[in-house]
């Protein structure tokens, strides 16, 4: 069948990965199409009504700093903001916000509608149009729709989330679905398997939704947001919207008894579910079984939006039969008469082993084909968004013939996420934690723009307005830091930076002096950054100087190892001295750099040493 229309970049799937990919490619000037089953459900949040959280908030800040949309969209529709972990140091502070789900979809739709290069197409993609090139190589040249029509595209980004061969479980009942109420994508799932990708099966779940009108709210502990909400986007000086309350309570012996009495009906424990679920996001049945000594588990009641009565029962994820879920809910004081609008469910879905990917998120097997989000074995809106953004950026750069953008572990959580995936693969849904970041002190929410906005600018995602503001901010920070390092405040025995090294001395105490010494800088900062984040960055650089330097030494070692590239054709089997086990481990992943090779589980320092020597031998042989 003849091509209907030609695009530079085609995105398959309109979730949190897909929308980032689509907007990035369109903003970078490419003719972009976003294929989705139902445009009404673009940017849907099928699970909890919240964005961010510890480490996830870092990812959203990074998406924003590069020019992605998740941060701005959340700031526009967030209904309760909290900065988490403030009892720790600034490196692990992370923002989280409850979002109105419907407003979030509308907000993202509106943002996409502003992109003249972006077409949104309601159609199911059933397969890929792939051509064989000489030498056994393959290249994607478009997508095939369910009706057989082919749409040509120079690059394709697949962001299909849980839709590939999705199967929902509620007790003994199972039915195919991509998300609740939406059909699964079987054609595309099978088509990817036929193309030879190594696929696996994972599982995730969601809790029941309750009707707010049937809840006795007096029984719960209210959970207010922060008095001063912390925005996600560097472009948002202040959150405007009024904030709502969430509520918390606990499960009890009655809840646990209902779980135990019905374990035989749980698809998790009956063997009905084969996919691997995340350990950090267990169902309530898992919690009760695995931690029998724990008498209660905390749960949160979170509104799904401002003009809906749906309440999300955070902490009660379950795939028990609906009647058991109803009994569990009714066991909790205040929920005795609560109406369950929808039961929780578990969903199993196919994913592609991310060891199939390059650091650009392009598949190694098929040129021009990129994968992003849950299809790569991750979980979470934020993890999806940052991958969608990177996949969209790299698809666009490839079509433009420009060099790719790969973020290093030393630069961004996003870089860590991609590197972990491609070197290690996924054996459970991958979620970001700050403990995954070995240089955590450097990768903070306050400096995400310093780390990444210059990259966003270089590739054409950062607007002139954002860039101007960024440069002004950077100049202010440099002026403040120079003053603090070089000058003494009247009455101080030492320069301000030396004083700030003392734990009890805070930069806020120096603000009056800064206002006096740098009046224009201080006035501009107070206008653009009322919460004083840019001062926090300077303060952190001074207070944690020793620890930052300690990590920097290791960052340099890592960069050196990343600089040693391994040709894709490298023949590990022909490497004398390399054990069979190492040959297999390295041959399976085919690492792009010596650094990446070092992070493949089980690869020994001895094997790396040998690899290094042979890379050098090859280099010299080639030079002669």
């Amino acid at each position: 069948m003849a091509a209907a229309q030609a695009y530079d970049v085609a995105i398959v799937g309109g979730g949190h990965a897909g929308v980032e990919a689509a907007r990035a490619a369109a903003r970078m000037g490419l003719r972009t199409a976003l294929f989705t089953l139902n445009p009404e459900l673009i940017a849907q949040m099928p699970c909890n009504p919240a964005i961010g959280g510890i480490a996830k908030g870092h990812l959203v800040r990074e998406v924003d700093a590069l020019g992605g949309l998740m941060g701005e969209a959340t700031d526009a529709v967030g209904i309760q903001f909290r900065l988490l972990n403030t009892s720790r140091g600034p490196a692990v502070w992370s923002p989280r916000a409850q979002a109105d789900k419907k407003l979030y979809r509308q907000q993202v739709r509106a943002m996409l509608a502003e992109e003249p290069n972006l077409a949104i197409c309601a159609a199911e993609v059933g397969g890929l149009d792939v051509e064989a090139l000489p030498g056994g190589l393959r290249r994607v040249r478009g997508v095939r729709l369910r009706d057989g029509a082919t749409v040509a595209a120079a690059a394709v980004v697949i962001t299909t989330g849980t839709f590939l061969n999705g199967l929902i479980h509620v007790g003994e009942t199972t039915y195919p679905a991509g998300r609740r109420g939406e059909p699964a994508a079987h054609l595309l799932g099978e088509s990817l398997k036929l193309l030879g990708f190594a696929c696996g099966r994972l599982k995730t779940g969601t809790p029941p939704r309750l009707d707010a009108k049937t809840i006795d709210w007096s029984q719960f502990e209210p959970q207010p947001g922060d008095a001063e909400p912390t925005p996600f986007s560097f472009l948002t000086p202040r959150i405007q919207r009024d904030q709502v309350l969430c509520y918390s309570t606990f499960t009890n012996a009655g809840t646990h008894a209902a779980v135990r009495a019905n374990l035989h009906r749980s698809p998790l424990y009956s063997g009905q579910i084969a996919g691997v679920g995340p350990r950090y996001c267990p169902s309530i049945e898992d919690k009760v079984v695995k931690f029998p000594a724990k008498e209660r588990h905390q749960i949160f009641l979170e509104p799904e939006g401002l003009d809906t009565d749906e309440i999300y029962l955070n902490g009660m994820s379950s795939s028990m039969p609906a009647d058991v879920q109803a009994a569990m809910v009714a066991s909790i004081p205040g929920l005795e008469r609560a109406t369950m609008l929808r039961p929780g469910y578990a969903i199993e879905y196919d994913f592609v082993q991310p060891t199939e990917l390059r650091a650009t998120l392009e598949t190694k097997a098929i040129a021009g084909l990129f994968l992003g989000g849950q299809i790569n074995g991750t979980s979470g809106y934020e993890e999806a968004a940052c991958q969608g953004l990177m996949a969209g950026i790299n698809a666009a750069l490839q079509v433009k013939g420009a060099p790719p953008l790969v973020l290093s572990r030393t630069e961004a959580y996003t870089g860590i996420l991609v590197d972990d995936l491609i070197a290690r693969g996924a054996d459970e849904p991958y979620r970001m934690f700050t403990s995954r970041a070995e240089f955590r002190l450097h990768l903070r929410i306050d400096n995400a723009d310093l780390r990444l906005t210059p990259f966003g600018r270089r590739i054409g995602l950062v607007t002139d307005d954002r860039w101007r503001r960024f440069e002004a901010k950077r100049a202010r920070q440099e002026a403040v830091e120079a003053l603090l390092r070089n000058e003494r405040r009247p009455g101080d025995p030492l320069p301000a930076a030396q004083m700030l090294k003392r734990p009890e001395v805070l930069l806020t105490a120096y603000v009056p002096w800064l206002r006096q010494r740098l009046p224009e800088v201080a006035a501009a900062q107070e206008r653009d950054d009322p919460a004083g984040w840019e001062l926090k960055t300077v303060e952190t650089a001074i207070k944690f100087e020793g620890y930052l330097a300690q990590q920097r030494r290791h960052m340099e070692q890592l960069r050196e190892a990343e600089g040693k590239t391994i040709p894709e054709s490298f023949d590990y089997d022909a490497l004398p001295g390399l054990s069979r086990e190492m040959q297999q481990k390295l041959g399976r992943v085919r690492p792009a750099t010596l650094g990446q090779a070092s992070r493949i589980p089980g690869v020994t320092p001895a094997a790396l040493s040998l690899l290094l020597v042979h890379l050098e031998l090859r280099r010299r042989a080639a030079a002669q």
């Binding site: 959280g53 720790r88 140091g89 403990s435 620890y547 040998l610 042979h614 050098e616």
Partner: protein, 448 residues
């Protein structure tokens, strides 16, 4: 070009005429000059003195500085040639490491030479094979270590540290969950627990080294109590000058012997009394020094003469030293009963010997062996490898930093705890984030 400076013994193991410790890397010259206390000129052999940390002269050495890139490795290289005793070379190497060098990995000099282009392609291919052989050997020995005794020794410390890290990480990454944050005193106690385990291992290493290098045993006492006779009898040959005139041994006399596999350096010393002249005063000073330096002191007295205030003063001073035993000599003569009073004997059975007849000497040897050697079976449980000992020392440095850091948030404290963990990982194999997360998920009920 490599950022760090490495050191290793460059000559084959075993006793040779001359042994060489080689430093390579950007700080080679600075470290060597600091170590030897003198400046070195490029490509010129220089005499230097190698002294221990207390300033005692250990050996005269010859040091040569080869500036990079025209050196064996292409980096700055200093070679220090010493008289080839393994113990001395080891001491020299340890001094270089203490000064800031890192112990070279097997094959690392060759690898650096190769990477810095000091070896041509044909040579390089041969050397790659050599490194491959090294690598296989390394892999095999690493595999042995993983399941072996060293890993077993390290396991308690490693496990405590991993759990502490997991605990702190849980408090950061799962602050929203039901995880209680570790209080400051519990944190200090947990770091102390890891340190205590490592301290035991480090002490075991020092002890094992003392055994390997031999035990110094000093004979100390008043003049004419028969120290030199005892010395000769223990050596079973005439060596020290023995006369009936007090104060004959003015200098130290030392010889080595083998007590059932335990290498012993036996030292005779000048008798201790108010000195009669300058020469004797120096001799007596050396006696005290020898007693202080020795691993073991035999406080010799003449049991045929009644004890006096000088004996008391001497014994009080000697007994303040670690591992001193009172030896009652001249058992062949009629004994002075006052020596049997409890104030002279304490809890241990007195060692009654006769240097003249040899009576009681077997019991003396047994007593020294028993006191010097660890209990049966414990010997094989010691850390004996210098590389392992260095890694343990490195881990302890980082633990000390973490323990000393006050008012520092946990994610910063963790920087040092991870460095300590990675120092141990260099022996036991890598601990990954997944390992830490595994501990967290099995310990805490995480997630909503």
């Amino acid at each position: 070009m490599s950022a760090d400076t490495i050191a290793a013994i460059a000559t084959p193991p075993g006793r040779g005429g001359l042994g060489v410790v080689r430093l390579s890397g950007p700080a080679a010259l600075v470290l060597a000059e600091r170590l030897l206390g003198r400046r070195l000129e490029p490509r010129r052999a220089s005499w230097a003195e190698f002294r221990d940390s207390a300033g005692a002269l250990l050996d005269h050495v010859v040091a040569t500085f080869f500036p990079g890139p025209r050196s064996a490795t292409g980096e700055d290289v200093v070679e220090i040639a010493a008289h080839g005793s393994p113990v001395l070379l080891q001491a020299l190497l340890e001094a270089a490491l203490a000064a800031g060098a890192r112990l070279a990995d097997p094959g690392e000099y060759t690898r650096r030479a190769f990477l810095n282009g000091r070896i041509d392609l044909a040579q390089a291919e041969a050397i790659a094979d050599l490194i491959a052989a090294h690598t296989l050997h390394q892999a095999r020995s690493a595999a042995r270590q993983m399941g072996g005794s060293v890993a077993r020794l390290l396991r308690p410390a490693h496990e405590r540290l991993t759990h502490l890290i997991a605990r702190l990480e849980a408090g950061i990454d799962f602050a929203e969950d039901d995880v209680t944050v570790l209080a400051d005193d519990a944190l200090a106690a947990a770091i102390g627990g890891v340190e205590a385990e490592l301290q035991t291992l480090a002490a075991g290493f020092e002890h094992a080294r003392a055994l390997r290098e031999g035990l110094t045993v000093a004979l100390v006492g008043r003049p004419n109590v028969g120290k030199s006779s005892l010395f000769n009898r223990l050596l079973e040959r005439e060596r020290a000058i023995v006369t009936a005139e007090p104060g004959t041994t003015r200098d130290l006399v030392e010889d080595s012997l083998d007590w059932d596999g335990l290498a012993v350096r036996l030292r005779d010393t000048a008798g201790i009394r108010p000195p009669a002249g300058e020469a004797e005063r120096l001799g007596i000073e050396r006696s005290w020094q020898a007693a202080a330096d020795a691993d073991f002191v035999l406080a010799v007295c003449d049991a045929s003469q009644p004890p006096g205030p000088e004996d008391r003063a001497l014994l009080d001073r000697l007994q303040a030293l670690p591992r001193a035993l009172l030896v009652r000599n001249k058992a062949d003569l009629p004994p002075a009963p006052a020596w049997d009073a409890p104030e002279w004997n304490g809890a241990v059975t007195p060692l009654v010997v006769s240097a003249r007849t040899g009576a009681g000497l077997d019991a003396l040897r047994r007593a020294v062996r028993a006191a010097a050697l660890p209990p049966a079976g414990a010997e094989s449980d010691a850390i004996t490898n210098l590389r392992h000992a260095r890694q343990i020392a490195l881990a302890r440095d980082h633990l000390a930093r973490a323990a000393a850091a006050a008012g520092v948030p946990h994610e910063a404290l963790l920087v040092d705890l991870y460095e300590a963990l990675h120092a141990l990982d260099a022996i036991t194999g890598q601990t990954t984030v997944e390992d830490i997360l595994g501990v967290i998920f099995s310990t805490f009920c995480i997630g909503k």
